[in-house]
Symmetry: C4
Subunit: 247 residues, 4 copies
């Protein structure tokens, strides 16, 4: 296995003007929005990404079939195609984050992407009744349109910058001539947060013109939360031992 | 020393239809089953694996002779040969897990292996009176046979997927055209668990036709537990200092 | 993205006899002094350094524009040019520290640097009323001049040596024939410390002849402290989750 | 800077039948014995080892001059030369331990070394009134001589094997045809332990015929302890902040 493997699932991958990233992160806000869009738009999977920078494990499907941890590219081919980057993990190492982000941008370049939206959560550590959507851009001229769509810009928020793919895709895409916007839904960070996701979806819809039914958003959040709750419980029970013996 | 070194102990390594992996893991269930089978079947060691992805240490034998940490391949040459992968450690780094799993599959390919069984424990954090055997496969068509042999498939168990060699061998063998089944004996995770091992052995015997005497299984578990207990005590006493000075 | 990328911002980078390093560190003493000098001397940025050894994140400017974490080289072209090395981070890995320090010295060599000053803090864990400036050199013959300028040498202080760029630039520059002096302002380590910075500035001015207005020093320290305080608060609130989901 | 750099300090490095390793470790037993021998035998430094696998820092000498962390080879040229491996650190990463141990063996091979003694401590976590010397060998035929010299072999001690250079040099030298013996002085692990060192020295003298005055052994232990105590205090005060800002 190479450091990073991209498996294209069809010969002609197609084209997309826009790439929407929703990898796992704070409150799983980005993941929830991106997976909801993929479902509602019936986007088609066109590529899988495998890497030794992902955690060394397999995921077991509902059918009992194990598969390697992976990220995926979906494509919705409308007037202007829209690609999605979703999946299981970000990176297990700091250097892997950079190398994977570059690989995602190679894929974006091949699809002809000109603008990237990275979606995430902004964890504030307490419950939020009216979640804001905080934003960042990789070129100042993108800011008015984001503000008009409802994305806020608050000095020093988030103060530590943006960690992981949602951040690096902004920084690294600039040198490839791509525009990039990061939308972060304010969230406690404790649960998969459909309200934060709904806020991000509002801004994203205004910016891209994508509109989808939202009746399944809460259901999807609840399902995702249920999986994560089991994961957390399992980690408490067995993982310390697991790491000890394996390490 | 290269990243991973495979030392073949005889010129013609032989052939095996099946590879059974039992590296250290939760409750040492897989290790106990695989080492028990090796002993009872008088399997012969045919290869040693050394790697700088293992922890940087030597193991001291009962005779006072130190040897590098290593994993080993044993072969039992019956009608269809059966190979075993056992040893001291998995990997000290996330990337090493992937690289080592690929090296194990290179060995499997050289032996002509067509099916892999990976054996492990499923830690639940409390004592279990009737331990189940949870299963995963790398192709859905393997599932009926595993169920008929007593292997269970429960949605969301284990919820975090399968970490380490037992998982990666399922995921990475698929692309080499090998079938793979993971059998996990339910265990508290606190002690080397002969009951979980016995359950795994039941399912494995039904699937492979291998039958062995089990009178030594409890004795072997007790010996393994005794070694681990001393290790744990020693880690409490000295290792924090060791790591500090060495680091 | 390569391991380390240096982007020169003009064709002829210019020349400098002296390089002053002030990367983030204990009490941000070095960072405060170097950034103060850059502002007061109106030094010009001549290069940016990007690296996958930096933490995988982007920094968001006051205008909402995200940029990759980076370090920077500034140049003040007086009689003898003075270069400055400042920026966002040191390294996320031990090996990266060495590789980045070598890259900084490649830049220094290209500018013709003959002497390096590395600036930092010496954390003592309690408030200090009259902060000393502790020193280290990479050649013994540099010591009298440093002492005459007010830099102290106390056996076994700091007892653990000097960690990171401020240390490695001393050790690694020797083999390139460059002289190097480290000045460490005694500080509690708890806050961005303008008094420690002022002490370092005294010694540095006496050694280099650089004199600048200091009326903004306290203001800059307060601004820097405010940013760091927000960062710390944010880390408490959300980062554990962030790391968990991302990892 | 390459991964590992060996700087020979004279053109003809000389020859040695024996290499004695005493890098930092539990109770600094090995370091104390090896440095004591170097002093008493007036051994000469013949090589320095630099590596990006060492912690990224410089050590400050009593004269205020900083130097890169490094390990060193000394040579005492008697009837049969004796080489010593001592220094500042082992490795900052698991893989570095393997790579450095191989580099030490390249040096040993160049000097013509046929037998290696690695010296260390065996931390038991409580004060020991009559410290034993535990032993390990890399060939069983070495054991009688070690036992005759007072080195003990106790099954399952140390139960976790031997971590770091003292262990890897045993394991990795075997494949180069070198004999190797590890001598571990039983120690609480809390302080630099001259009694454990004295015990190791007894066994080593009986095995090698080297006899040295021991009147300075306690003094050297006290000096080493004083440096380490300052280091520990300093780490408590400042290092958490240091790592945080630098990381």
């Amino acid at each position: 296995m190479d450091g990073i493997e991209v498996r294209w699932l069809r010969e002609e991958p197609g084209t997309a003007e826009v790439l929407i990233e929703g990898l796992p992160g704070i409150g799983h806000v980005g993941k929830l929005v991106a997976e909801h869009l993929i479902e509602e738009l019936h986007a088609e999977k066109i590529a899988e990404i495998y890497s030794l920078y992902f955690p060394p494990q397999v995921i077991i499907g509902a059918d009992g079939v194990a598969r390697l941890a992976r990220n995926e590219i979906f494509l919705h081919g409308g007037n202007q195609g829209i690609a999605f980057l979703v999946g299981d993990y970000q990176s297990a190492s700091a250097e892997g984050h950079y190398l994977l982000a570059d690989a995602y941008l190679d894929i974006a370049a091949r699809l002809g992407v000109r603008r990237i939206y990275t979606l995430g959560g902004y964890g504030v550590g307490h419950l939020v009744t009216e979640p804001r959507v905080l934003s960042a851009v990789n070129r100042e001229e993108l800011r008015p349109a984001v503000e008009a769509a409802g994305g806020g810009f608050n000095r020093d928020e988030p103060p530590g910058g943006i960690i992981g793919a949602s951040g690096l895709l902004l920084g690294l895409s600039l040198r490839r001539g791509m525009e990039a916007v990061c939308l972060m839904g304010e969230t406690s960070g404790y649960l998969v947060d459909p309200r934060a996701a709904s806020g991000v979806l509002n801004v994203l819809s205004a910016l891209t013109g994508i509109t989808v039914d939202r009746s399944q958003l809460e259901t999807r959040a609840a399902e995702m939360e249920s999986i994560i709750a089991k994961l957390t419980e399992s980690e408490r029970a067995g993982d310390e031992d697991a790491l000890r013996y394996i390490g």
